[in-house]
Symmetry: C3
Subunit: 259 residues, 3 copies
């Protein structure tokens, strides 16, 4: 069975950076299956990378290695890490990028990437650990290397955490915010389906009431609808349209769900 | 021999949607070969997706599964379908996206995707059938599942058709229009090479006469030229330049070929 | 061991051109591993493609076939070529695109692609040699075809060369220029690390002095720093920022390194 590696970076697709990471993986073993999650995380935006990883993680085979590089601290004292979970591995910088996944899944073990025999070179560039350390380590993991061989063990409890945006909940209302806007202009809030305890509700955003639905096509073309999205979060969308443009909202806007 | 799946969507590359579709395929079988056609179909533009599929379809191996998702009606009553042709398979929504291919190739059989044991989950999201139904079905087809196992048979004649743009033809003139503009600014018309019955002609667009050529380099740098493009349609281009910008035209502009 | 092919083009990702090239490769052999370097070389900009190829070439396995298409002269008298180096192969138009690699690595042999049995079709489109000739030839090479079978031998010394931008060097100063700006706004100069003979220096650009560092994080957020980048060239960056925007510079701007 071919090992699977996913890639998530803020490298974009204009330069050859992503290609070079894949070349490094293929140099370890060209039979590894490499799947792009996205390379268009806003530059150095760790929280956006954290959100994207949460949404992608559940959909990959057992044992997949998730290599993620949004790394403003490259070359500083921040550590490179690999983490083992029950159903997969995480490789990248210890800066909170993985903390969304770690909020939902238990880390079995973690190591600091200090054993340079698993790197592309023992003298890595100070600016491109994605190529010189992480890609090579991820490839070796996907080929069957053991986590403990990659460096000294560290306590997963000491991994860097970044706080997700919070929502507030009372018996009649949940106050949240927009945490992500996708390319369709759909507004993804930080209110998870598990927080909603009644089956009937409406949503308010910018003094507009949005009706409850179950999908985009519950309303006529051009009308807004609120529903539980495929991510597991409350979403606001416009049938055959763009909710961001139509409601004139942006990241962080207040969203209230009212029973 | 590894099975091949192509992907065409309007998901863009900023979000993890495409990665998650590929994760779902890899969960069925990581050895499947997945090839992106494009993920930048203008959002919900079924006709643009239809055009792109016509142009890509002939260049893939026998048995390739083409998974396409431009799906404004997801979650509504529109059906999910799989179609078997002599040289490949089509999987996606029944909304006309495949009707350009079906105009040129005969469908051997078609099914409505109703057998949930081939889905990622028996309780699919109402907004992301690309992940929960189509990706998994396409992977099973590429691994050798039989079309008839995926759901109940439907008559291919009853599949939704979308009309392509028309051209008009007399003995001295063909009146067509621009149906696609590529990233180089090349203008691709809806006049197929098979419609042209004389070997000498000129083209008129916006009262300008464009000379007949066989390739971009038939004219000096900066000059316009009309020729039969690699798609099989009459194209208008500018040598080392951008015809859209230079001629100030857009999608749908009238193009006349005169013998 | 699966053969590896890299792709570098100016085709962009909006159209299906790249997908069709991959379909042509998969039709020869779907087990070939295809890695995108980039498809966003500025249209017909051979020098930008030449730069990108230099930076990607060292990071791929022995025997990799690098297929590159930035080809304003397609359909003219320019030749299609394949080149064998000690550690890989190059396939594409003979227009200087490969001359940066050829400045650094010795060509063992080269052929003009004249044997149409290795093409997708013996009657190739005059506008899409990437699909009809180069993709198929690259796939056959990656499957083990011998270079000399692809066409008649030509002397590698006669391959088209494009001049790289030059730098000037005295005992106290190196005058170079910005040759590339990446998506982070990092400024990559044409001054290689091998040209710098002292360990202490500063950089001047637009009358601003940029301090020497070894990485992005050597300076506070928002400050500029100059260092040897992961490409092997002198780079100028801004910690957690965009040097292009902050310094208001563009491609070709003068950069002086002063001992």
């Amino acid at each position: 069975m071919a090992g699977v590696i996913t890639l998530l970076t803020d490298f974009g697709l204009k330069d050859v950076y992503v290609g070079v990471v894949k070349g490094t993986i293929a140099t370890v073993n060209p039979s590894l299956v490499v799947i792009d999650l996205t390379h268009q995380i806003p530059p150095q935006n760790i929280l956006a990378g954290r959100f994207a990883l949460i949404n992608a993680y559940p959909y990959f085979p057992q044992g997949t290695v998730h290599l993620a590089v949004v790394d403003p601290g490259v070359g500083s004292q921040r550590q490179g890490i690999a983490i083992q979970l029950q159903n997969g591995y995480l490789v990248g910088p210890d800066n909170g990028l993985f903390s969304g996944i770690l909020d939902q899944y238990t880390a079995c073990a973690a190591v600091r990437l200090s054993h340079s025999q698993y790197w592309r070179t023992a003298t890595p560039s100070s600016t491109f650990h994605g190529r010189d350390i992480f890609a090579s380590v991820a490839a070796h993991l996907a080929c069957g290397a053991r986590l403990q061989d990659l460096g000294e063990a560290i306590d997963p409890k000491h991994l860097v955490r970044l706080s997700p945006p919070n929502y507030e909940k009372t018996s009649t209302i949940i106050k949240g915010s927009i945490q992500y806007i996708d390319i369709f202009g759909n507004l993804i809030t930080n209110i998870p389906s598990t927080a909603i305890t009644s089956s009937h509700w409406t949503v308010m955003i910018k003094e507009r009431v949005i009706p409850q639905g179950t999908t985009y096509s519950d309303v006529p073309v051009g009308e807004t609808v609120a529903f539980m999205g495929s991510h597991g979060w409350l979403e606001i969308a416009v049938m055959s349209g763009n909710a961001q443009t139509q409601l004139q909202v942006s990241w962080g806007e207040l969203v209230q769900l009212i029973y």
